[in-house]
């Protein structure tokens, strides 16, 4: 309390003043009131990495300048040309970087871009063109809906009718681009496009100044026209086409209707366009005649104009041809009634007028370059002429001019001067050659021979690797053989001059084949096909067939050649692919009498390791078939077969080492198959006795050459197959055979499985049977042979004994002991066979002699090691037991044998 008092007393004096007057000086800032709200705003700078708008587009595709596709597309319609251009390049960058963007937004992109087709600015259009050409169309190649194209086309047509010529011409270029990538689009808009072409060409004098533009438009026209169907007279070997690998032939086939295009409207348009093209071309002709050289642009224009004319003429011809085809041969792609028979009156008139200009280079310009150009143009005109030849009646003078030109071209009197001329000439010649056969068949006789002369010369001069050969060959085929479609001969082979040319061509074929080697197997195939057709279709007993027969002398070189020093030079046959080999083998069938020289070169090929076995079997087949129809002498065929069996190289290789020598085994299997094939051929030939005599004779010639065991086995098989019981072998041949058979048996004995160890390798048993069975057959049929062979075996044991004294070669003695073992194992093996055992029992004398010899050997201390003597002794015992089982020894004889012990 006391305290509160003073406090209250203190307050007392202040109470009198309610509000203290505060004096303030002017200009002095008052302190803020205590309860004042702090209204101060504080701020800090926020540093953002990007602009605020950019943050939304994280993860979006942007161009180099950081613009999205949407922005870029918006910018394409900017009023500033530069911005538009930049936008287009931006789109290009973006699409290249993010291809997915394009596929996602293709519709939007195209929708926006098409507006630029008729852009006023040249650079923008050009950029757009590049963009479409390089980026968008290649990327969209796979899936482009028709709607996309139609989107574009609306604007392209708009551009085509634009007032500005630049834009107009550019629109054609765009259309060209579309057609280039989507050829089918032409047919959808053909009528309209051709109409536009017609318009622009009609006013050509306007554009004549700017020829590069006109050229661009014409390129497009050529491309479009080349899509039109036409008769393909080009070189296309129809053979070798593979048949569709349809699983089930009777299955219901869904027939998709082919895109039906209304050709009638195109025909009408083309009818209008053709005269304009001709006129346009004639406008250029004044440029040709002055001495001034022809500039490249107008040359190109002329060339394209000619091409367009050519293509439209071809199309009309196609229509006419279709009109005439018979039922069922080819289905017309459009209705007959759509096809007006065209151009019989009006069109040829102006075409004829057009062709009158023909030799363009009458003035003989001095510069070589120009001459080339004229030359090309002339060739193009000639081509048009040749196409139209079939339905225009041309005047004789014009005809002469053309024929002369063709002749000069063939004979090479007209040449290109420039470096690349050679290739160009070949290219153009290729396009003209298909017409030659028809031309030759139609023109008068004098021209016929002149043309043929030039043709033959050109063919002979043609280098083997040249692409021209293909065209030459198809022309030759047409002139030699009845054509596939009509079945009639174009040329009458009874005229000696024509025949001469035909013979020259035929002779040239094998030469060409050999010169080609294996470099161009496709061309070789065509030649072989031609040869085959010739063999098939040449009328019997005609001079052509005769020429075909003569050809085999030159054809030998194609297979192989035996050089003077005995080595063999393999021809191209060995290196060609299999289908060519088969074709060439088929050609053999048609020679009316196969020459033994050709057979010899063929057999060298057959003996070569590199030849595929399947081809070898084909050769055997074909030769056998040729024999059947009397194209081959029996003796020749048999000696071919026997040579094959006797000389075919079986690679040495023991069977039980098959793990490492898989190939060698297959080789032996192949040989077995060859022997089998030959056997079955021999058996089918007919008179067994006669064939046996021939085979026997040939084989006896081969046997003294000591063939390897496999080959001898093969030959024995041939004999056994043809022989009968009792044997038909002559005395003399039995003697020769017994010599080689005894050696053969001793060799074969090494394959007999050892009796002791029970490892009966089934493979080894089978090979052993393979070797021995033919001998058993022979023994079964001829006792004499068996006697002789046993005799020889016995003497071979003894013979070594006698030679031992003078020959201390240890190898030899080793041979002797193993030889004895071999003989014994053979005899034991024979003993196992019931039939042969019966035979053996009749030759006890020989066996006794063998036993005696062995006894002698085993007792012979000199030169024989203990081990060998033991071996001999062991064999002796085995043989003795077997001999005892034969039941042919009576008691006395057995005693004699025991005496030896």
């Amino acid at each position: 309390m006391a305290r509160s008092k003073p406090s209250s007393s203190k307050k007392q004096p202040k109470r009198g003043v309610d509000f203290k007057k505060i004096k303030r000086k002017i200009g002095r800032k008052l302190p803020p009131p205590k309860n004042a709200t702090n209204t101060e705003i504080k701020s800090k700078a926020i540093i953002l990495p990007e602009q605020s708008v950019a943050s939304e587009r994280a993860g979006l595709a942007v161009s180099k300048k950081g613009l999205t596709l949407k922005e870029l597309l918006q910018q394409t319609s900017h009023h500033n040309a530069k911005v538009r251009r930049d936008a287009l390049t931006g789109i290009r960058d973006l699409v290249l970087k993010y291809p997915a963007e394009l596929t996602l937004h293709k519709l939007a992109i195209i929708e926006k871009l098409r507006e630029r087709i008729s852009d006023e600015d040249k650079v923008v259009r050009e950029t757009l063109y590049q963009l479409l050409k390089l980026v968008i169309f290649p990327a969209l190649k796979k899936d482009v809906p028709g709607s996309l194209i139609s989107l574009m086309m609306a604007y392209i047509f708009n551009g085509m009718t634009h007032l500005a010529t630049d834009i107009r011409l550019m629109a054609f270029k765009f259309f060209d681009l579309v057609v280039q990538h989507y050829p089918s689009s032409f047919f959808m808009y053909a009528e309209k496009v051709l109409q536009n072409y017609e318009d622009i060409l009609r006013k050509n004098h306007i554009y004549l100044q700017d020829r590069s533009k006109l050229k661009n438009a014409l390129v497009g026209l050529v491309r479009c026209l080349s899509l039109l169907p036409c008769n393909r007279r080009t070189v296309d070997p129809s053979y070798g086409k593979n048949t569709e690998t349809q699983g089930s032939l009777h299955a219901y086939e869904l027939e998709v209707p082919k895109e039906h295009t209304d050709f009638s409207s195109i025909i009408k348009r083309l009818e209008d366009i053709l005269p304009i093209l001709v006129n346009c071309f004639q406008d250029f002709i004044p440029l040709v005649h002055p001495m001034s050289s022809l500039d490249a642009q107008s040359f190109d224009c002329m060339l394209y104009l000619l091409r367009s004319i050519d293509l439209s003429v071809k199309f009309f011809l196609y229509g006419i041809d279709k009109h005439q085809t018979d039922f069922g041969v080819t289905k017309p792609t459009y209705n007959e009634k759509d096809m007006p028979v065209w151009g019989e009156i009006a069109t040829p008139v102006f075409l004829r007028k057009f062709l009158e200009v023909f030799p363009l280079n009458q003035l003989h310009n001095t510069s070589g370059k120009d001459e080339d150009k004229f030359f090309i143009l002339n060739i193009e005109i000639t081509e048009i002429f040749l196409h139209s030849n079939e339905w225009i009646f041309t005047s004789a003078i014009l005809m002469e001019r053309f024929l002369e030109f063709i002749e000069n071209l063939l004979s090479g009197k007209i040449r290109f001067n420039s470096r690349s001329g050679k290739a160009l000439q070949e290219k153009h010649l290729t396009s003209l050659l298909p017409f030659i056969p028809r031309l030759v068949s139609l023109v008068a006789n004098t021209w016929k021979s002149r043309l043929l002369q030039a043709f033959t010369m050109a063919f002979k001069d043609c280098k083997p690797e040249s692409t021209l050969n293909l065209a030459f060959l198809s022309a030759i085929e047409e002139m030699l053989l009845p054509s596939k479609r009509q079945g009639i001969l174009l040329l009458d082979a009874s005229e000696p001059e024509i025949l001469d040319h035909q013979i020259t061509w035929i002779r040239e074929l094998p030469v060409l084949l050999v010169r080609l080697g294996d470099t161009l197997s496709s061309l070789s195939k065509v030649i072989l096909h031609l040869l085959l057709r010739l063999g098939q279709y040449a009328p019997m007993n005609s001079s052509l067939a005769w020429e075909y027969d003569i050809m085999q002398h030159t054809l030998g070189e194609f297979y192989s050649m035996c050089l003077d020093d005995g080595s063999i030079l393999y021809g191209p046959f060995m290196k060609l692919p299999k289908d060519c080999q088969e074709l060439s083998v088929c050609c053999l069938y048609y020679f009316s009498s196969l020459d033994s020289l050709l057979l010899r070169s063929l057999v060298y090929c057959c003996l070569c390791d590199n030849l595929e076995p399947s081809v070898l079997f084909r050769i055997i087949d074909v030769l056998h078939s040729a024999y059947k129809i009397g194209h081959l002498q029996l003796v020749d065929l048999i000696s071919f077969f026997v040579t094959l069996v006797a000389r075919w190289k079986v690679l040495p290789g023991r069977l039980y080492t098959h793990v490492e020598n898989a190939k060698k085994i297959s080789n032996r299997e192949t040989f077995k198959a060859i022997t089998g094939a030959v056997c079955s051929c021999l058996r089918q030939m007919g008179d067994d006795a006669l064939i046996f005599q021939i085979v026997q004779r040939v084989i006896l010639d081969e046997i003294p050459l000591n063939p390897p065991i496999d080959n001898l086995c093969g030959m024995l098989r041939l004999l056994v197959i043809l022989d009968s019981r009792p044997t038909k072998l002559s005395e003399q041949s039995i003697i020769i055979l017994s010599n080689s058979i005894s050696e053969y048996l001793i060799d074969a004995a090494s394959y007999i499985p050892e009796n002791g160890d029970e490892v009966t390798d089934s493979n080894q048993i089978s090979i052993c049977q393979y070797y021995l069975v033919p001998c058993f057959f022979l023994f079964d049929r001829s006792d004499k042979l068996l006697n002789l062979v046993l005799d020889l075996m016995g003497s071979s044991i003894g013979e070594d004994n006698s030679s031992l004294a003078c020959n201390h070669d240890t190898q030899h003695t080793l041979d002797l002991s193993s030889r004895i073992v071999a003989v014994v194992s053979i005899l034991l093996y024979m003993h196992q066979d019931i039939k042969i055992r019966r035979r053996l029992s009749s030759c006890k004398g020989e066996i006794t002699r063998i036993l005696q010899k062995m006894r002698l050997q085993s007792s012979n201390e000199m030169g024989n090691t203990l081990e060998e003597r033991h071996k001999i002794q062991f064999s002796f015992d085995r043989l003795k037991i077997a001999a005892g089982q034969l039941n042919c020894w009576d008691a006395d004889e057995l005693k004699i044998i025991s005496l030896f012990e």
Partner: protein, 400 residues
């Protein structure tokens, strides 16, 4: 009575066996037939073209009647005839010559109605499509041509047309060995075999190659399954390969693409094949002189006949009228049988007669059908039907 007839290039006669009982019938003597050179003309008699020495310029075609083993009629055409075919009612005989010409004879009169150059080489096989409007010929040069018989006799039409034939297929590189056609007349498929080791399937309606099948050996004969699911190809290696036409082929097996199996009896090469009318029994002739009858469903051999030591080159399955049987049994009544013996037509002409026989060439003489044929052929349908029904019943009982 369904019989198998077979002939051989060596003189073993024409063998004749009852297909179902297996009993051998009469053997017709002295026949050395060419491949495809045996035909049964309208079930009335047998005809076969003969192999001749290459020296003789003319060919020879022989006739045998069913009842006699001896050759009854001999004709000598202008050149050796290889294949021989006749239409089903036996009005015509068509033969293919060694020069590539095809001969067309009328049987009843023996006249050569037409001869035309068909091929550049000898004709090897011929057949008529099942509606007998198309003739298909194969030749030594591997060419196959399809002729419309209608066109062949239309001289003006022939000249007008670009080619006398309908189609010419030249995809085979070597001799055509055999051909067979399916059902459907001009819409059928044909299968051809060639020495180039392939068989090719063609469409007659579209005129194009449908399929080419490579075989491991030369195919000498083909026969088509009646359902046209597969065809059988008799090969020179003795096997009969089965190649699929209608099945989707899976991975190629050991023989090759489209080949689904074999019938094999380790025999020599198969030279000819024929199907029985029921489509179950397949008859094959072999190089070793035997004729095997296979059950195509089970792939087993049903029966083996033996013709000769030499190869068999023709096998046919034909229906033989019954009257000839009775005739042999009634041989004692010689006068009776002679009266009843069907007279064989005259020999075939050598050349086309261009003389003015136009008057009667308009009418085609129809062969008289022997009256006894009709009398003796009993109608068995009722018995067969009842028998089959009872069999089916047994089958169903067995199933349930």
């Amino acid at each position: 009575m369904e019989v198998v007839i077979a002939s051989s290039p060596v003189d073993a006669g024409i063998g004749c066996w009852d297909l179902h009982s297996g009993a051998e019938q009469l053997r017709y003597r002295s026949c050395t037939s060419t491949p495809h050179g045996l035909a049964c003309v309208g079930q009335r008699f047998l005809a076969s073209s003969q192999l001749r020495d290459s020296s003789s310029s003319s060919g020879s075609i022989l006739y045998w009647s069913w009842s006699k083993p001896q050759v009854e009629v001999k004709s000598f055409p202008a050149e050796p005839i290889h294949p021989l075919v006749s239409n089903s009612d036996g009005m015509y005989i068509i033969g293919g010559g060694s020069s590539g010409a095809i001969y067309f004879w009328e049987v009843a009169s023996g006249r050569l109605l037409k001869r035309w150059h068909a091929h550049y080489r000898a004709v090897t096989c011929l057949f008529l499509s099942d509606d007998e409007s198309l003739l298909v010929s194969g030749a030594e040069d591997g060419c196959i041509r399809v002729w419309s018989l209608f066109m062949v006799f239309d001289d003006i039409g022939m000249e007008m047309a670009k080619n006398p034939y309908e189609y010419s297929f030249s995809e085979h590189t070597l001799r055509v060995t055999d051909m067979v056609s399916g059902y459907g007349g001009c819409n059928a498929i044909i299968v051809s075999a060639s020495e180039d080791r392939t068989c090719k399937v063609w469409s007659l309606s579209r005129g194009k190659l449908l399929r080419s099948i490579d075989f491991p050996s030369i195919i000498e004969a083909v026969a088509l399954d009646p359902g046209e699911h597969v065809f059988y190809a008799g090969a020179r290696d003795g096997k009969i390969y089965i190649a699929s036409i209608n099945a989707e082929t899976t991975s190629s097996n050991s023989y090759g693409k489209h080949i689904i199996g074999t019938l094999s009896d380790n025999s020599k090469g198969v030279t000819c094949l024929a199907f029985s009318k029921d489509g179950i029994l397949l008859v094959s002739g072999s190089e070793d002189g035997t004729i095997r009858v296979w059950d195509a469903k089970t792939h087993n051999i049903v029966r083996i006949y033996r013709l000769a030591k030499g190869p068999v080159n023709n096998v046919l399955v034909v229906r033989r009228p019954l009257y000839s049987n009775r005739q042999t049994s009634e041989n004692s009544h010689s006068s009776f049988s002679r009266r009843h013996a069907p007279l064989l037509p005259p020999p075939l002409g050598k050349y086309v007669n261009s003389t003015d026989e136009n008057v009667d060439s308009g009418a085609v003489s129809v062969p008289q059908t022997p009256s006894s044929d009709i009398m003796d052929a009993p109608y068995l349908s009722y018995h067969v039907l009842t028998k089959q029904i009872s069999e089916l019943q047994v089958f169903f009982i067995f199933l349930s």
